[in-house]
Structures are given as structure tokens and as C-alpha cells.
């Protein structure tokens, strides 16, 4: 069978036949991919611009500093509440999630490990309202609508995220690093904490931040647990607490145009906090890699 053979002279000829078709197909596919990428990005940009244009006019210093009970009402109690609830939840979820992920990867038998992974998958796929319902049915009857109930619901959502990320980054630590440590006569537990986890530290942090971002934005579980309040509660997890997603939910369905505007502004604040957090972590991880 003769093979299509080119000479130098062919190189300057205009493409024809197969070549032309190939070029057309190439351009076409590239066009499709551009369009699909745009479909993915445009709504996101639209969303952000929409939040900014609607929220910015209402984003005043009073909004951030004042509580809903002040003469010029703000959402300070929701900001404070969100931060408290998220921090408290991650304090519960991070150690449990990291330790759990490390256990599944480093110590568990294959059977336990795969059972654990299945469980994580199920938990990751659980709609957040189920977590809220769980806290509503288990914690609320005992402690009432409260910060504690919210913390339970949020940690239930955060733990699998931290666990999964932990597993993934621990898996990336080269076996040689663990071996080197064990061969130095460093005990297994120290190897795990000071070598394996330290090597994966930036990845572990990413997992924690992912979980925090998730927790910051959760609405449904908070409605069923912390419930929302106009009071400012500081470290009073036994009482109902306010949070930004609750404010967004409640205010946006109100007939009062000021409250609707404040809902947009709250969304903007939430967006900025989440974004800042992500950027900070990205900086840290990049720096770590360079150092």
C-alpha cells in the first residue's frame, strides 16, 4: 500500500481535501469548546455583577456595624453569628475530619477503608437540609433552637469534606517520605503527624477552607437549627443565633425594599468573605510550594 508522501513543495500549497477538512473540523471543535466554556463562566460573572450592582448601594458602614434592632438597622449580628458558627463548627470538624482521613489512609484495613470511603461519599452527597433535619430532630428537642444545634448540623456537613480532601492529599505524599522517616527509627505516630501530615499540610488547609466556605453559605440547616434572631449573641451558643444566609433568606422574601436591598448587600459581604478566604489560602499554598 502506497503511503501518502509529501515533498517540500507541498508544504506551501493551500490545504485541500483531507487537510482542509481536518482544519475545518479543528476550528469547529475549538469553537464548540469556547462556547461551552463561556456557558460555564458567563452565568458566574453575571451572578457576581448582579450581586454587586444590587448590593453595593445598600452596603453602608451602618449595615455592617449596626444590629437589626438599631435605629439604622444593620446585619452585624448575622456577620458575628456566621463567623462564630463557622469557626465553632470547623473547630469540631477539622480535627475529626483530618484524623478520620488519616486513619482511613494510613491505618485502616482495606475493608474498613473502603467502607469508610463509601460512607464519605454518601455523606458528601447528602443534601444539607438532611443534616439540618438531623440536628433538628436530635439536638433541637434537647437544647432548643440554638447555636449548638447549628454547629452539629454544620459539622456533619464539613467532616466529610475535610475527610475526603485529607485522604486525597495524604495519598499524594510519596511513599519514600514515610519510609525515610520510619527508617530513621521515628515511631509511626510521629511519622504520621510530623512527616506525612506536615508534607501534606497545605493540602489539609485547603480541605479545611473548602469546608469553611461550605459552612459559611449553608442556609437550610441553619433555618432548622439556629433559626435567626435580631439579638446579638456572642459565644452564647445555647440561644438562637443569626447568620448571613438566614438574613439573605428572610430579607429577600420580605416586601420591604430596604430589607431586600440589605439581603443583596449581605450576599455581597458573604461573597467577599468567602473569596478572601480562598485567595488567602491560595497565596499560602503557592508560597509553600515555592519555599
Amino acid at each position: 500500500m502506497s503511503v501518502l508522501r509529501f515533498t517540500a513543495a507541498d508544504l506551501v500549497k493551500a490545504p485541500s481535501g483531507r487537510d482542509a477538512r481536518r482544519r475545518r473540523a479543528d476550528r469547529f471543535m475549538r469553537g464548540i469548546m469556547f462556547v461551552t466554556a463561556a456557558i460555564a463562566v458567563v452565568p458566574l460573572i453575571g451572578l457576581i455583577t448582579y450581586i454587586i450592582t444590587n448590593g453595593l448601594p445598600f452596603l453602608t458602614s451602618q449595615l455592617i456595624v449596626n444590629s437589626p434592632l438599631d435605629i439604622e438597622p444593620g446585619i452585624s449580628n448575622a456577620i458575628i453569628g456566621s463567623l462564630q458558627l463557622t469557626i465553632a463548627s470547623i473547630i469540631v470538624a477539622a480535627p475529626v475530619g483530618i484524623a478520620g482521613g488519616v486513619y482511613l489512609n494510613e491505618f485502616a484495613s482495606p475493608r474498613v477503608s473502603s467502607a469508610g470511603e463509601l460512607l464519605i461519599d454518601v455523606m458528601l452527597g447528602t443534601p444539607s437540609i438532611i443534616a439540618g433535619l438531623f440536628a433538628f430532630l436530635v439536638v433541637v428537642p434537647a437544647l432548643g433552637f440554638s447555636g449548638y444545634a447549628a454547629i452539629v448540623a454544620l459539622s456533619v456537613l464539613m467532616i466529610p469534606i475535610v475527610m475526603r480532601t485529607t485522604q486525597e492529599v495524604i495519598r499524594l505524599v510519596p511513599a519514600g517520605v514515610r519510609e525515610a522517616s520510619l527508617a530513621l527509627g521515628i515511631p509511626v505516630w510521629k511519622t504520621t503527624i510530623f512527616v506525612t501530615c506536615r508534607t501534606a499540610a497545605s493540602g489539609l488547609l485547603t480541605g479545611v477552607v473548602l469546608a469553611v466556605s461550605r459552612g459559611l453559605g449553608e442556609t437550610a440547616p441553619l433555618l432548622l437549627t439556629a433559626k435567626g434572631t435580631n439579638d446579638t449573641e456572642i459565644l452564647n451558643f445555647g440561644s438562637t443565633m443569626n447568620a448571613m444566609p438566614i438574613v439573605i433568606y428572610r430579607y429577600s422574601s420580605s416586601p420591604d425594599s430596604l430589607l431586600i436591598g440589605q439581603a443583596w448587600a449581605t450576599a455581597l459581604v458573604l461573597l467577599v468573605i468567602a473569596l478572601t478566604l480562598n485567595v488567602l489560602v491560595r497565596f499560602r499554598t503557592v508560597n509553600n510550594r515555592v519555599a
Partner: protein
């Protein structure tokens, strides 16, 4: 610290397999600069050693005497259990699930598989250098060398600094890194990283250093430096090196043990002896074929 450890141990100088080297032991004692290192400290004796992965017997009935303060090379074709055997010597193979050992390994007369023996401690006494340089990626050059002391020992800061410097000097790396001790260990070249790993291994002051093809990932010049280093280190440490490179074995080692694979794919010891003898006048045809490059 070393001396205390030595006191508790019975010294055994029974040489069954390779007693031809007894005269050489004396000369190495003379060149031994460190008083803390006893000349017979670090003699290994493997007896009827068998290593299993599950039911598969990877190493078959190996008896071998490893002389203190000497370099012993383990050579043989791929898959004949050299690395497995090496890892059994500091119980590193135990990190692989279902790996088991039969027979005995004694270090200075002490059975390292004895019921009272903690594998973690065995690895303090018998260090290891791996095929691929594996410095801890998040630690500095200094931190890498200090890691064993910081995490497994209880040394003061000043002491650690002294030991780090001493170890880097012994590993012939000090001059290259003394001005950048705080830079990450992974910033070094491959050969330097391997010397860093050697410095890290000797910082915890082992008696024996196991090397699993330490040069196979390195270029020829870096290889030469490591080989030079191995020859220097043998005045203080017993060194067991697995290598695929027969020239390397003949260059660096005092004794050589040749392994081959049996019918059941289990590795066994064909013969062992002084390196010149193995390379020039082996008693087994198989050894001769192998060192002549006719197979493997």
C-alpha cells in the same frame, strides 16, 4: 549513648560463612578514628533467613555473615530478593502488610527479631538509604538532617546543631550547603539529595547503614561521589549495599554476596566471599556467568 547501648549487648564474633576476613577486621580498627565506635560493633549474622510476602517465599534460607566496619555488596539479577533481604535487616519490610520473616538476624549477638525488640529501635541502630533520594520535602537541609534527632531522640538544640554539622561533613556535603542550611532539602541536586539522605541516616548514629541501590537514580559523577563516600564511611559503620552495578560492587565493597532466583522464584544465596575472590575466582559457575555478564 552508643556506649551504653553497646554494654547491654553480648559481643559475638562467631564467623561461620566468611571467616576469611578476620585479619582485615584488625586493620580497620586501626583506621577507626572514633573512639566511641567499637571495632566489632555492627556485625550482622543472618541465619536460615526466609522472608515471605503472604505465602510467597521471596528469600530462601540465607545464612550470611556481615563483617563489622566493612562494605558488603549484595548483587544478583532483578527479583532475586536482594532488596527484600536488605529491608528485613532493619525490619523495614514490616511496613508492607503480610510480610513475615523466619530464621534469625543478630546484630552483635542480639536477635533483632527477639520478642522484646521494638522494630522502631532496630531502625535507630540500623539505618537505611533508599534508591531514590527522599529528603523530607517540607524540611530545610538542616531540618532534614536534624529530623531523626528531633523526632526520635531528645537532644538539646546545641547538640543537634553540632551533630548536623558533623553528619553533613561526614556525608561530604557540608562545604556545598553550609551557607544555605535553611533552604529546602529538595532544592539540592539529585546527588546532593542522596548525600543529604546519608547525612540524615548517620545523624542518628547507627551502627549499620543499609543502602538499597543508592546510585541508581544518579548520574555518573554523583555516583562516583557517593562511592567515595561509602568507602570513607566504612571506617565507622557497617555498610550493606544492594547494587545492580557490578563495577560498583567491585569498586566499593570488601565482601560480596551473590544471589540468584530459584525455581520457585524465591531468591537464594549462591555464594559469598571477599569481593576480589567473587569477581575473579568464584567457586560457582552461576556466579562466574553473572559477573562475566553472561546473564542477569
Amino acid at each position: 549513648m552508643e556506649e551504653e547501648k553497646g554494654k547491654g549487648m553480648k559481643r559475638s564474633e562467631v564467623n561461620t560463612a566468611g571467616s576469611t576476613q578476620a585479619s582485615k577486621t584488625a586493620s580497620s580498627a586501626a583506621t577507626n578514628a572514633h573512639a566511641s565506635h567499637n571495632s566489632t560493633e555492627g556485625s550482622l549474622n543472618l541465619k536460615n533467613l526466609e522472608v515471605f510476602y503472604d505465602k510467597f517465599r521471596a528469600v530462601n534460607n540465607v545464612s550470611l555473615n556481615i563483617e563489622p566496619k566493612k562494605v558488603t555488596a549484595l548483587i544478583g539479577p532483578s527479583g532475586c530478593g536482594k532488596s527484600t533481604l536488605l529491608r528485613a535487616i532493619n525490619r523495614m519490610h514490616e511496613t508492607i502488610p503480610n510480610a513475615t520473616v523466619k530464621g534469625t538476624i543478630t546484630l552483635d549477638g542480639i536477635d533483632i527479631y527477639g520478642s522484646l525488640v521494638d522494630p522502631v529501635r532496630v531502625r535507630r541502630v540500623i539505618g537505611m538509604v533508599f534508591q531514590k533520594p527522599n529528603p523530607f520535602p517540607t524540611m530545610s537541609i538542616f531540618g532534614n538532617v536534624a529530623s531523626g534527632l528531633r523526632l526520635a531522640g531528645a537532644s538539646s538544640k546545641d547538640e543537634i546543631a553540632g551533630i548536623v554539622e558533623e553528619s553533613l561533613k561526614k556525608a561530604a556535603l557540608w562545604n556545598e550547603v553550609k551557607d544555605k542550611l535553611n533552604e529546602p532539602g529538595t532544592s539540592l541536586s539529585g546527588g546532593q539529595q542522596q548525600r543529604l539522605c546519608i547525612a540524615r541516616a548517620i545523624a542518628v548514629r547507627p551502627e549499620v547503614i543499609l543502602m538499597d541501590e543508592p546510585c541508581s537514580a544518579l548520574d555518573p559523577i554523583a555516583t562516583l561521589k557517593i562511592e567515595e563516600l561509602i568507602r570513607e564511611l566504612r571506617t565507622e559503620y557497617t555498610i550493606v549495599i544492594v547494587t545492580h552495578n557490578m563495577q560498583q560492587a567491585s569498586r566499593v565493597s570488601d565482601s560480596t554476596a551473590f544471589f540468584s532466583m530459584g525455581e520457585d522464584r524465591g531468591g537464594y544465596l549462591v555464594e559469598s566471599g571477599l569481593t576480589p575472590q567473587i569477581f575473579t575466582a568464584p567457586t560457582q559457575q552461576l556466579t562466574e556467568d553473572y559477573v562475566a555478564g553472561r546473564f542477569g
